[in-house]
């Protein structure tokens, strides 16, 4: 039997507004508990919400970037449930009339293929606070700093068919929100959180299988692993003749398994109804059109431009534009060095390996774009060979300074002195009489290939610093003179 996995994602993105969705309190992360919660966030009696205009602007920008309909009229509703970190006893969110309507985006997979994923809608809502269960000796602590922070919840259609597609979609959302500057997209701090609806069905079957909802899987890696392990679980059950229970499950990263959340917490009737404290918000056509003209260049457009302007391959262009920071890095390195292709190669090669090894983001790169450009310039003007350049790069990564400083300090400058090279060529010819004899007696056609041996010996003698073009030229002249 061949199974197909069906995945829909609900992604919560914290908006980078200065203040909360309905109050003036700061949204800064990491402050002491309950120091960033005002009377409104604490749901003190008589307090009232006032919507944050910036949150609407950010949400509308996101909608435009997703090629989505912008809800010209959006309505907040109350989602009622009791929980200690939900001060009002309801969450103010949107349901029937969300700010962003249906849309679609293209995702790019590692095999180079692309796919369109449809957006069901995205809505604005307020975040809850946090319950802290440690350190309180059988009690819980409540931190309401996060309560009221604006979120957009982005709900996809069940269009993804593998864990890899889900990750590609999530990366695309991440790339769009960070390009727009509407969120820092930091999954480790909870600025971006993901729930996945997963079901399986036999290939060719049209009806969707029963789904489970995986909660709060908070890294790209865990999303991939959680979906895989949950799909396997479901397939095992179905192949054994069992059936899937529709439920919410938690992913345990340590054990790499999903497990059911207590069913008691699941059967909720949220009793949504329009929030009478807030009026419907209407975005005018002028407002939306003005926003559209102010949108920054988005990843797909940037990738197209990189292919066109810098002659990058589609693969490189997609890779480099995934994050705005790496695209900016690339453009700086390409412009300052005048060698776009080399800049791209270095970024996808040595730099990517370095960042991966050190678990750093591009913003934290120990080698700046300017430094990489400096290195490329030295390759370009033959001061160093590509091989030596790798040494220089490693030294820069260790903080030994710019390329010029490293080359100088370590004496890595390429030897292009004709006399010095002539001497090395003479020494190698003298020391390898047998090989010289072979060369002389070989067919004309085989000779260029045989030269490689002598070049290797000479490079070794020069400690890799001999100018390869010059070595080749002088060697050929000297060997040909012996014919």
């Amino acid at each position: 039997m061949e199974w197909e996995i069906v995945i829909g994602l609900e992604v919560h993105v914290q908006l980078a507004t200065k203040s909360k969705l309905f109050s003036g309190a700061s949204t800064q992360f990491g402050a002491a508990p309950n120091t960033q919660a005002c009377a409104i966030d604490l749901a003190m009696p008589g307090t009232l919400p006032v919507p944050n205009e910036e949150a609407f602007r950010f949400a509308a920008m996101f909608g435009l970037a997703m090629n989505a309909e912008i809800g010209r009229r959006s309505v907040f509703e109350r989602k009622n449930y009791f929980y200690p970190d939900l001060p009002k006893g309801y969450q103010t969110t949107q349901l029937a009339e969300p700010i962003v309507g249906p849309g679609e985006i293209e995702i790019h997979l590692e095999d180079g293929s692309s796919k369109t994923v449809r957006l069901h809608h995205a809505h604005l809502e307020e975040d809850a606070g946090k319950s802290l269960h440690e350190d309180f000796h059988g009690m819980s602590g409540i931190d309401l700093n996060r309560a009221g922070t604006p979120l957009i919840e982005i709900v996809s259609e069940p269009d993804m068919r593998s864990a890899a597609e889900a990750v590609a979609y999530l990366k695309k959302i991440h790339s769009i929100v960070t390009y727009l500057g509407i969120s820092d997209g930091d999954m480790s701090q909870g600025s971006m959180r993901c729930d996945a609806n997963v079901s399986v069905r036999l290939k060719g079957e049209e009806k969707l299988g029963t789904r489970t909802e995986l909660k709060n899987i908070n890294s790209f890696r865990f999303v991939e692993r959680a979906i895989k392990v949950e799909a396997e679980r479901q397939i095992d059950i179905l192949e054994d003749g069992g059936s899937i229970v529709q439920e919410t499950r938690l992913y345990d990263a340590d054990k790499n398994e999903t497990r059911s959340m207590r069913s008691k917490e699941v059967a909720n009737d949220y009793r949504y109804f329009p929030c009478p404290d807030l009026l419907p918000v209407v975005l005018t056509d002028d407002y939306v059109e003005k926003l559209r003209t102010e949108l920054p260049e988005l990843p797909d457009a940037k990738a197209a431009r990189f292919r066109d302007e810098y002659k990058l391959s589609a693969y490189d262009a997609d890779l480099l534009t995934q994050e705005r920071a790496s695209a900016d890095y690339f453009e700086t390195a390409a412009k300052k060095s005048g060698e776009a292709k080399l800049a791209a190669n270095w970024m996808t090669g040595e730099l990517a390996a370095l960042l991966n090894r050190e678990e750093l983001s591009i913003e934290q790169s120990p080698v700046s774009a300017e430094q990489l450009a400096g290195l490329i310039l030295r390759i370009k003007d033959n001061t160093i060979s590509s091989k030596i350049a790798k040494q220089v790069f490693d030294a820069m990564a260790k903080g030994e300074g710019d390329a010029d400083q490293v080359i100088e300090k370590r004496g890595l400058k390429q030897v292009s002195d004709t006399g010095a090279i002539e001497k090395m060529v003479d020494d190698v010819i003298a020391a390898n009489a047998a090989q010289v004899e072979n060369y002389r007696s070989a067919d004309e056609a085989k000779r260029p290939k045989m030269m490689g041996f002598f070049v290797g010996q000479i490079m070794k003698a020069s400690k890799g610093q001999g100018n390869p073009q010059l070595i080749n030229k002088i060697l050929k002249e000297k060997l040909d003179a012996l014919l």
């Binding site: 009377a39 009696p45 008589g46 009002k88 006893g89 109804f273 404290d277 009026l279």
Partner: protein
Amino acid sequence: MHQLTIAEIIRGLRDKQFSSVEITRHLLDRIQQLDGNYNSFITVTEELALAQATAADERLARGEAPPLCGVPIAHKDIFCTSGVRTSCGSKMLDNFVPPYDATVVENFNRAGAVTLGKTNMDEFAMGSSNETSYYGPVKNPWDTDCVPGGSSGGSAAAVAAQLAPGTTATDTGGSIRQPAALTNTTGLKPTYGRVSRWGMIAFASSLDQAGPIARNAEDAAYMLSVMAGHDAKDSTSLNRPLQDYTLNLNDSIAGLKIGVPKEYFGEGLNADTAARVQDALQEFEKLGAELVEVSLPHTGLAVPAYYVIAPAEASANLSRFDGVRYGHRCEDPQDLRDLYMRSRGEGFGDEVQRRILVGTYALSAGYYDAYYNKAQQVRRLIKQDFVQAFDKVDVIMGPTSPSPAFALGAKSADPVAMYLEDIYTIATNLAGLPGMSLPCGLVNNMPVGLQIIGNYLDEARMLNVAHQYQQVTDWHQQYAGSASAA
């Protein structure tokens, strides 16, 4: 001195006939002596009042007096007062001291008014008799065996008993107008959004509106001029300029078209009450107004629609009272569920719990369309009735309440009979229209109220109409026998 109206107090203070401290002291003493009979105050803020009065006297002496400088008033205990316990008539908030002022309170403070205290009310403003207060029922100064109406019963009784010349109040389905009618006072519920709801503890957000209760229309105009205005802290507040409601009080009302809805004079209306209201209408004809019969065909649906919408909103508004952050928390909770169940079970009285249950039910999956959505449709029809009527007339008049004040305990076992007390007032809340009640006669020595319903933001005209009536009648000047004896 306690018989003075706000207008007279303003003049007396400016003419230095008495000081703010003198009249404040007088009223505080009077509250101390008499309020045991009425229970109209939950908290008396003596220290605060005297400090404010002293400050007001200094400002008066410097000649830089804002409009209500030195005038003593009292606030319904639904308005948050910084540093002063704000209970909303509930055990749930018996220990709650807000760190902020309601915008209404702030406006009165800025206008120089003196706060005598916080008045009693039905718990969370849910009631029409003031019997649901955790602090005990308020007694009607006209007959202490009778209710003063509710939920602003304390605010109305305090004015009727001459303990304060004016009080703030709120009206969700009639809570200003019905107690005003039952206590012979003048009360006005403005257009929804005219007065900020910031700091006013919510019952039903789409219906709640604050307004004044006073001795006459002129005083109500003074108070409303201070209360009304746009507030950026309330998203439902109307962005209209401030208005001086005292300016048009003396305009002639000749030619005024008064709509008389036939549905307001049908079954259920006490015949004597009807007669007093008809007398008042004839008085308006003498003043040159024209009576026009109008129809508000969906009147009968107002009470049922209200008792879906208001509890639905209340069920969510009251969820914040969970024992976690402030207010009543049960002793020694075993777990989270126990904390919620007992804190709320102990903190809320029966009527509040009843409405939370009704509202929760109305919003539940499977019932939402049949109740909440249907009620919203009815609400639109009711609004449409008024819009059509106001095409033909300037104001609408009828009874405020179907009968005069009833005996304490008479209706407390029958919630539906209690709900029908507001049959003539509820529709204006559903439509968002302004309404007021003013004294128009007595039945067996108990007051009867005339209701005036105005078009949107037409409060100035309503006050003008009421003031003109009060120039040719003296019902509003009759005071409760038990009060004037003191």
